[in-house]
Amino acid sequence: MTTSEIRNPQSEIFDSNSYLNMELLRFTTAGSVDDGKSTLIGRLLYDSKSIFEDQYENIKATSERRGESTVNLALFTDGLKAEREQGITIDVAYRYFSTPKRKFIIADTPGHIQYTRNMVTGASTANLAIILVDARQGIVEQTRRHSIIASLLGIPHIAVCINKMDLVNHEEAVFNNIVAEYREFATRLKTKDIHFIPISALNGDNVVHRSENMKWCEGVTLMYLLENIHIASDINHIDMRFPVQYVVRPYSDEFHDYRGYAGRISSGVIRKGDKVIVLPSGFTSTVKSVELDGKELKEAFAPLSVTVQLEDDIDISRGDMLVREGNVPKQSQDIEAMVCWMGEKPIQLNGKYFLKHTSKEVRAVVKEIKYKMDINSLHRITENPSIGMNDVGRISLRTTAPLCFDAYTKNRDTGSFILIEEGSNVTVGACMIID
C-alpha cells in the first residue's frame, strides 16, 4: 500500500483547527425505486471527494463485471449481500461525509410502502429530509408519503430535489409545475421550511456544482443548502428537561458521599444554582454542579451528556426527570399518540406492551385505536381501524406509572416513546405524543 502518497489536492489546505467549528447535520434520503437516490448519494460523496480510491476501484470493477459502460456511482451505497443480489436497499444504511463546513450523516432508507418503518427510523433523528422526484413523472404517491412521514416525524427542513432534469431538456416550466403542485400539497404538512432544487444526479448538475444547463435556476445547489441551512435553533433551548439515566456512586474514600445524576439533556439549559424539581416525586433542590469527567461546566445545554449534583440528598433514580420550577412537563398515565407500527402482528386492542420513554420504562395497555391514517393522503380511517406493519394511526394508552412528557411537536425527546412486544422483546411501535 503506497497509496498514501497520492494526495487529494482539495484537502492539501486542510486546517487541523477548522474542525473545532464544524457542525453535524443528519439527513435522510427517500425516493421511489429508480428516482436516482443511490446515484445522488454517490454523486454527493464523489463530488465532495469522500469516496476513497479503493472503494472507487471496487465499484468500478463491479460495474465492469455487470457490463455497465460507466462507473455506477449508485453501487457505492449498496449494502448487504442479499440486497446486492436482489438489487434493492431494504434497510437503513448510514453514510458519512464531511466538507470543511459540516459533517454529514445520511440515513439512507428504501422508499417502498412496505419499508415505511425503515423510513420512520431514519427520519426519527434527522434535521433534514431529501425528497427525490423524477422530473418526468412529477409528484407521485410516494412523494406524498415520504413528505408526510418527514412531517410526522418532525423533520424541520425538507429539500425537494427534482431529478433527471437532463431527461426533460432542463426545462424551467417542468420544474415550476412540479414546485407549484408540491406547494399546494405541502400546506397540509407541519414542516414549513421547504426548498426546491432542479438537479441531475447522473451528470452532477446542481448537486455540488452549479448547473451550466439550467442557468435559469437562481437557487442554490443541494450541497450549499446542506452546508448552510440553519439548524442550531432546531433544538429546544427553552424548556429544561433532564432525564436521569444513571446514578454515579463511586463508593471510594476520595468521593465518599458523591452522588451524581448522569444523563443527556433533552432540551433547555442547566446551570449551577438552578432551582429544580424532581419528577415524579415533586421534591425541590438546587443544582450544586454540572460536570463531565470531573470538570465543572458553567452551563450545559441539549444534547450534551453531563453529570449533575444537587444540594440536597434526595432519593432519585433512573427514570426520574429534573425540570425547572415554573416550567414542568405534563404528567399522566393516559397518553394520546400517533404510532407507526413495526410489528408483524397488528397492534392489539387491550394488548399490553413494554413502553420506553426517555430513561423510563413502564408497561402500557392499548385502550383505544382511534383511527388509521392513509399515509398517502392523510385521510383518516375510523371504521374498525386495524394498525398493522408499516401503518400509521392514532392510539390511546394507559401506563402503569405516570410519564413526564411534552408534545412531540415541542420536544422530539420527551415527546417520543417506543412500544416493545412482550415475549419476543422486539420493538414494534414508534410513537409521537399528541398534545
Partner: protein, 300 residues
C-alpha cells in the same frame, strides 16, 4: 446566546449516552478491547461517562497471540492508569484445547478463529453485552449495524431481522442466553476519531506514528517481519518508514508508508488520504462480502 456544539462534542455526547445506557440496561457488560484506536477511544469515553466512579465494565481482549509487542505494553499501562479490570480470551488456548484448528499456509490467520474464542469467553464470564469500537463508516456491512445489535443464543447476527432503532431509545431487552453487541462510536469516522484524540490529548500506541520497521510486500500490503508470518522465498524484507492505520493481529495488519509523527500529522494524512483504513487489512480482502459473513457468525 447561541448554543451550538461542534461535531466532536455532539459525537462525544451521543457515545457517552450509549455507554450509560449499557451500564443501566445490562447486568454484566464488557468492553471488547483490541488495542486499536477505536477501542482506546471507547475506553476513554467510558472513563468520562462514569467519572468519578471507575469504569463499570472490564476490558476483554481476545488475544490471537500474534501481537505487536507495543499493543500489549500499551494495554497493560492503560489498565493500570484507568484502574479497570482486564480479561484475556486466548486463541492459543482455543487451539490447544482443540476448540479450533490453526489455519495452514502462508496466509494463515487467526482472525477467523477469534470468533470461537470470543463466544467461549462470553459464555465463560456470562457477559450479556459486549461493546466494540466498530464504526459504520469502516466497511459496507457495518453501515446497517445498529448501536444495540441483538445476537441470538449462538451469537449470530441476522442483518435482515434487526430491531428498529428510533430516536435515542435503545431496546436492550432479551431472553436468557441471548446477548447484545453495542457500538458506542458507530457514528464516528476515522478522521473524527483522530481529531478527538488530538483535541483531548490522549496518549496513543507508538505503532500509529511513523517509525522504521522491517517490512515486506505481499499482494500490495506491507506486512511487518514477524516470527508469526511465514515468508515466501520470493518475498524480501526491507527497512521502511511506516506507520499503521489500524492495529490488530500482526498477520493481517498492513503498514503504510508515512512520515506522520504526531497526531496533527496523522490528521493531515487521514484528511488527504485516498484509501480507506481497511484497505490495508488482508482479512477483508478475501472476498467482497467477507466482513458480512464473519459478522453473521458472531465476529465483532
Amino acid at each position: 446566546m447561541s448554543y451550538t456544539l461542534n461535531h466532536l462534542k455532539t459525537l462525544e455526547a451521543e457515545s457517552i449516552f450509549v455507554l450509560r445506557e449499557v451500564a443501566a440496561q445490562f447486568q454484566n457488560p464488557a468492553i471488547l478491547f483490541s488495542g486499536g484506536k477505536d477501542s482506546i477511544l471507547v475506553t476513554y469515553l467510558a472513563k468520562k461517562a462514569f467519572y468519578p466512579a471507575p469504569i463499570p465494565f472490564p476490558l476483554v481482549h481476545i488475544d490471537t497471540g500474534h501481537n505487536f509487542e507495543e499493543t500489549i505494553t500499551y494495554r497493560d499501562n492503560l489498565v493500570k492508569k484507568l484502574n479497570v479490570k482486564l480479561i484475556v480470551g486466548s486463541v492459543q488456548e482455543s487451539i490447544d484445547t482443540g476448540r479450533v484448528a490453526e489455519e495452514k499456509g502462508y496466509s494463515a490467520s487467526r482472525i477467523r478463529l477469534q470468533t470461537t474464542t470470543l463466544l467461549d469467553t462470553i459464555e465463560k464470564y456470562k457477559f450479556d453485552c459486549c461493546m466494540g469500537g466498530a464504526r459504520r463508516d469502516e466497511e459496507k456491512a457495518r453501515a446497517k449495524e445498529r448501536f444495540f445489535s441483538h445476537r441470538d443464543e449462538f451469537g449470530q447476527w441476522d442483518p435482515k431481522n434487526q430491531r428498529p432503532e428510533l430516536w435515542n431509545l435503545f431496546n436492550g431487552k432479551m431472553q436468557v442466553g441471548e446477548n447484545f453487541r453495542v457500538f458506542p462510536i458507530s457514528n464516528w469516522t476515522e478522521l473524527d476519531v483522530w481529531q478527538y484524540l488530538a483535541m483531548e490529548g490522549i496518549e496513543m500506541p507508538s505503532l500509529y506514528f511513523s517509525h522504521k520497521r522491517r517490512v515486506f510486500d505481499r499482494d500490495g500490503t506491507l506486512l511487518a517481519e514477524s516470527p508469526y508470518i511465514p515468508m515466501k522465498p520470493t518475498e524480501v524484507v526491507e527497512e521502511m518508514v511506516v506507520r499503521f492505520r489500524t492495529i490488530g493481529d500482526i498477520t493481517s495488519t498492513g503498514a503504510t508508508l508515512s512520515t506522520a509523527a504526531t497526531l496533527d500529522d496523522i490528521i493531515q494524512e487521514v484528511a488527504s488520504s485516498r484509501t480507506t483504513e481497511r484497505g490495508g487489512r488482508a482479512d477483508d480482502k478475501r472476498s467482497e462480502s467477507s466482513m458480512e459473513d464473519r459478522k453473521k457468525e458472531g465476529y465483532f
